[in-house]
Amino acid sequence: MLAALGALALGSVAAGWLLGPLPHAALLGVGWTLVSGALVVAIWQPIADLVALRGVGAAALLDASDPALAAATRSAWELARARPTGASGALIAAHERRVRERLAALRPAAVVRVPRDLGRAARPAALALVVALGIAATSGRARAGIFALTHPLAASRIDAPTASVVESFDARVVYPAYLGRSPLRVPAASRMDVPVGSTLELRIVPRITARRVEILVGERRLAATRTGDTFGTSFLVREDERIGVTVTDASGRTVRDSERRAVHAIPDAVPTVRLTSPDADESIDADAVLLLAYSAEDDVGVVDVDLVITPPDGQERRRRLSTSTPAVDSVFGDTTLEARELGAEPGDRIAIRVEARDANDVDGPGVGRSETRTLTLASESTRRQDGIEDLVNARAAALGALADRLEVAVPEDPSAAMARFAVGSAQLTALIGALGRMSFDARVGETARTDAPIYAGMVTRLRRGLSAERRALEPRVQALEPRTAADRALATELENDVLTLTDMLARARVQDAAAIARELEQLRREIASLLRELARAPSDEARAALLTAIGRAEQRLAELRARLGAMGTSAPEEFANVTEAETRQTQAALDAMREGLLAGDLDAAQRALTALEQQIDGIARALGQGESAFSEAHFGDRDRALAEAMDALQGLEAEERELAASSADARNEAARAALASLGDRGAGRAAELGEQAASALAAIEAMEPGRLGQADREEHERTRQRLEDVADALASGDLGEASRMAEEAETDADALSRDLALDAMMFPGHEGATADSARRASDAARRAHELRSSIERAIPELRQHLSDPSRRALQSAAPRQTAAADAAGRLADRFEHGPDGEPLVPDVADDLRDIGELMREARSAREHEEPAETADAEGEAARRLSELRRRLEQDSQRRRSDSGSAGGASELGHPVEIPEGHEGPMELRRRLLDAMSEGAPQGYDDAVRRYYEGLLR
């Protein structure tokens, strides 16, 4: 059988060789007859052998190993088929059973053995097989013939006759220049992986006499050029393609080669770019300098690397970080980025990424991009968010500490008690630390100062409780009862703290969202103003500014949605009613506005603006209601107490101002009378005051008039002029004139100080310039006041020049001053002890007690009929009360609005209100400036200018 198989293999190969690639049909028949004959011979003997083993013939397998068993098997088989007449069935069955048992016990190898002559028979068969395979491997003709044999119909297909007609198919890959690689030869190529842009040069040798050879690349047909027996062509690889070959023989018959070939185009990988620093989204301060570190790698080579900055207006800006000629495999670098460079405002989010281009000049360049990082410029909003996170963490810590105490009872066992205490005290120490930091931050920060005493109170009580618990355990573990009491006291404190922190958290979230809504409204006004400006004078700059404002509004809206989403059930229900739908509609209005703007349809943008206004109003109303309801429900007592204390403070200030005005009148009257009687004797004293006047003058000159508005500049100039007059009068020894000029200087300086203080509350100016001017003006006013007092004190015997009515007035108002001093003391107590025992606002009580002390000095001066001392003390007391009230109002305003530049100050406990038709200061200013630029009727220029300036002040 093995020999037959060897013959079959050899016969087939020989037939293939004889037939060749394109045999005639008759020859193909002969070939198949030969192969079939060989096949029959090859399988005849094995089949015959197997047939012999049918039925009882299988017993022959046992003849060699166990002839007795073979005989028994035959007899069992025959008896089972034809039982002899009269034979015992039981005996036959027993015989069969025995045979079966013996057969079952036999090993198969003992029955079927390898014939001893197998080795002899196998050798020529194996030799024939090897020869056949060798011929097939080395002879293309043989292979072609075998293909023809096995595909008898392929060559006769009408549409695409196919045969193995290509003897050799070699390729040479010429890589694109940017890769800088040498060409590569690929012999007998059937599938080639080559970079996109490579040129493939093909060399084909047909197996038959060919007149023409064509290469099929996808749908294209490329005619190959003949050089001797070889045909050649080339093509550029752009994408994956199948490659076919057709050969036309001398008779004009075209046959397609049977072998399948293909080229796989490998696209050029884009550079791999990483932004290693910053490695996450970050919040940065406005003056921060950010370190950027990056890397870029590419197999072709990196040519250049850019930093791409996307500010709120969405218009990308690029900064070249590196350029490499020639291209390099990898680039590592770092650079700095200043927040100022981003042109962003606090709260803006800037996206940055790094991009690298490679040297691919065929289908590139390939551009790789790093991850995008979002930088958020720190703002009141981010600071508020930090505060909220602090509250969340503190509450979680308090809840954890409380839960541990509730879940594990105080153990009797001393060592277990100590272990429990160790865990609990560690938790509480961490909580106390966090609350202490929050207290400090609140106290020194510009917002939420009123929260500082609440945190401080928690810290004090927790410390006290922890100490009590420690005393119950150290140095000796006490009985269970005192330890349980200490534990219960701490748990109660933690419960109170958890609830307070929860309320504060909810309020902080409410206020945070409300503040963002206010920002949104401010942006809407800015957008409205810019839109008008654009309509009046279209320009790319105006359009860009508008897009930036819209981008900012979108960012605020996204923040608002995120904050509302984070509230969950911790905020009041009313608040959560600012639904996704409302904010989505706001976003739709912004989208519509942007589209209108980009399409140049300002009417559409204006319509979208109206929709935006309505949506923002809706959000503001809902947030305002939520804030109001929540504050009333959770902080009503405290806020009410604060509001009442503020009312009392205002009343006290009014009373003290009245007293100060009356004592100032008395002093002025006495001074005038004294001056009239003084004559030339004041010259000596006047010289001593020269230095003080110079100091006041220096203070007013320290201000920068360029930073002031027109009206303020005039006031500043008047003040400066009057102070110079004072100096001149003092130099000439004219105390009377000096006193009059000092009085005017004081009045002007006061007015300037007041105006700037008001301005600073609304418009702090760039980097707080207005606020700085206001502080300087205040300082100058104080010095002018002191100068005038000094001048008047320099006028001797003022008391003796008091008229009787003034003397009686001084005396009679002394009890009022006493009452005012007492009221200041009581008010100090109210600020010091709120309804929950904690101070309403830190430090205020001390200030009020100091002011009370001034009032008592004033009372004493009144009783002694000292007009100058009285006026000085009362004036100072009134000034400090006024300053304190303004500070508290600003605190309150900051607490409830996002920043000092936010819209109108809202009182404590009032909802967020954006009144109908209200125009914010920015909007008003812009409108007025617009109007100013339109000019005034001839002859009325100055009047109109003053009118506008007055409005702007």
């Binding site: 809840l399 409380l402 509730l406 059930t569 959560a576 639904t579």
Partner: protein, 534 residues
């Protein structure tokens, strides 16, 4: 423009057109000529009397003969509104707004056109479930309301059978129920303002031959929507039986008395302690509301307290009548009213006694009523949900220290500190053992800890008083499941879903206790509503 704004604008425009049209168009009778005019008048009368099949036959013929006659079109529009074909109803009704119409006044025409217009807008995207025989149709907004609709279909069949027993008739069908997603939607498709709804707690209506209920998800804590369907279905059938001649007090009396009939057994009024106290007290001071003052609707009474008293009055009156004269008496009264007899007289004639005697018996029955132990309990108030926020019922706990402990427990629960939370809930329960909110929280914690019996101990005593407090029912069901009492678990959980079908807990319990065929829906609801996976 947002959909509500668009809708408002469209309605405003429509009303403006109507106003102009009504003001400008000359009033000329535009009835079809000859006998058809009389036929149309008869059809309109049939519509008003809810003999809809009769009207339909007539109007089909008239419409074929006078397809563009404004009066015919209006009546056809009205018919289509009653049939629930809102789009075509709106087209017909609006087409007649600015044309001369002889049969109906301008107010009625504008009102019906507005209703058709708004109803088409509100229900435009609704899905529909229909019983196999097509007799019951439930339409609802896509989304979780499908869980209400599924049960509502089965409840409608039981309601129909129960009312047939008591009132001796079936509605001719199909019985259509629309589940409106919000109270605002209910206001838009009806003549009620949102203020009326808020003030009186009216969250369902039977009008224009269909039942309309507000989805329980529009209320903060759900409401007994299944009994509400029973209530409105009584209106539907009684309107048909009396050809819509029953006065409001009679309608509400029958409806409140029979609204729970579908649950089986003898019908009985179910008064909450607050309403019962109010009834007894006001009867004692002779300060009851005259039945005539209940017109045009109890929903339009000035306060929720008045509405509660009115319902208590009329339902106990009907109950007293039923106790004496049975369902035959109720059927007799309806038949008399149908032929135009005054309702008071109909009651008197059916009882063969003066109405004053009936009133006297009723007052005696009120006098015999006990004042409930917790007489200080307020009238149950349906609280509408505003916005998407999850309502927090911890604020409903009256005792301050208990409320504080519940708040703390909730915070600990949110932090997954269940054991600690249960300590706080336990403290709250010690202070306020009769508070259903507190007991439900404690039970929830006990169930979580595997102590079903503790949960049952906390909740079971409160069940008679707070049988409509959904969290109590849901937690009690879960507790019964835990102790292996599957029958009670099923009963209480089913009761919970009949208050608030959007709480996954009772669905999860039902999925565990019901046979496989019925459990599939509950498993789906449990999973879809975010319930426990086990």
């Amino acid at each position: 423009m947002t959909p509500p704004v668009r809708s408002l604008a469209a309605t405003t425009a429509m009303v403006a057109i109507v106003a102009l049209g009504l003001g400008a168009a000359p009033r000329a009778l535009a009835m079809p000529p000859g006998e058809d005019a009389a036929t149309l008048v008869a059809a309109a009368e049939a519509l008003d009397r809810l003999r809809i099949d009769d009207a339909e036959r007539t109007l089909d013929a008239l419409s074929a003969r006078h397809p563009d006659d404004p009066d015919v079109r209006f009546e056809r529009g009205y018919l289509r509104l009653l049939r629930g074909d809102y789009a075509r109803a709106r087209a017909d009704l609006e087409s007649t707004l600015v044309r001369a119409v002889g049969l109906r006044g301008p107010e009625e025409r504008v009102m019906l056109a507005r209703v058709a217009h708004e109803t088409e807008l509100v229900t435009g995207g609704f899905e529909e479930l229909r019983s196999d025989d097509g007799r019951f149709v439930v339409r609802f907004a896509p989304g979780p309301d499908r869980f209400v609709a599924h049960d509502a279909l089965a409840i409608l069949a039981r309601v129909d059978a129960g009312l047939a027993t008591e009132l001796g008739a079936h509605h001719e069908g199909p019985i259509r129920l629309e589940i409106l997603p919000t109270a605002t939607a209910l206001s838009r498709v009806s003549s009620l303002s949102i203020e009326d709804i808020e003030r009186t707690g009216t969250i369902a209506l039977c009008k224009w031959d269909r039942l309309m209920i507000t989805s329980p998800r529009a209320l903060a804590h759900g409401y007994p929507w299944a009994d509400t369907i029973g209530h409105e279905a009584v209106h539907l059938l009684l309107a048909q039986l009396t050809e819509d001649r029953a006065p409001v007090w009679m309608q509400e009396g029958y409806a409140r008395f029979l609204e729970r009939r579908w649950r089986g057994g003898t019908p009985a009024v179910h008064l909450d302690p607050g309403s019962q106290t109010l009834l007894v007290t006001r009867a004692g001071t002779d300060d009851l509301i005259p039945f005539e003052r209940l017109h045009p609707s109890i929903a339009m009474l000035p306060s929720a307290e008045d509405a509660a008293l009115a319902f208590a009055q009329v339902s106990t009156f009907v109950e007293a009548f039923y106790r004496a004269h049975g369902s035959a008496g109720l059927i007799d009264v309806a038949a008399r009213v149908r032929v135009g007899e005054d309702a008071r007289q109909a009651f008197a004639d059916a009882a063969a006694a003066p109405f004053s005697d009936l009133e006297g018996h009723w007052r005696d029955a009120i006098g015999a009523m006990p004042v409930p132990d917790d007489a200080t309990q307020p009238i149950p108030h349906l609280e509408l949900r505003h916005g998407a926020a999850e309502p927090d019922d911890s604020g409903d706990v009256a005792a301050e220290s208990a409320r504080r402990a519940v708040r703390l427990g909730d915070l600990l629960w949110t932090e997954q500190r269940y054991l600690a939370a249960s300590v706080e809930y336990g403290r709250a329960h010690a202070v306020a053992p009769d508070d259903p909110v507190v007991a439900s929280r404690l039970a929830r914690a006990a169930v979580r800890g595997g102590d079903g019996q503790a949960a049952i101990d906390a909740l079971a005593p409160l069940l008679p008083r707070w049988s409509e407090h959904e969290p109590l029912l849901a937690n009690l069901g879960a507790a019964y499941l835990l102790v292996g009492d599957r029958a009670r678990a099923a009963e209480t959980s089913r009761a919970a879903t009949e208050i608030n079908p959007f709480d996954p807990e009772p669905h999860c319990t039902l999925a565990a206790v019901l046979p496989d065929a019925d459990a599939a829906f509950e498993r789906d609801a449990c999973a879809a509503l975010g319930g426990r996976s086990e």
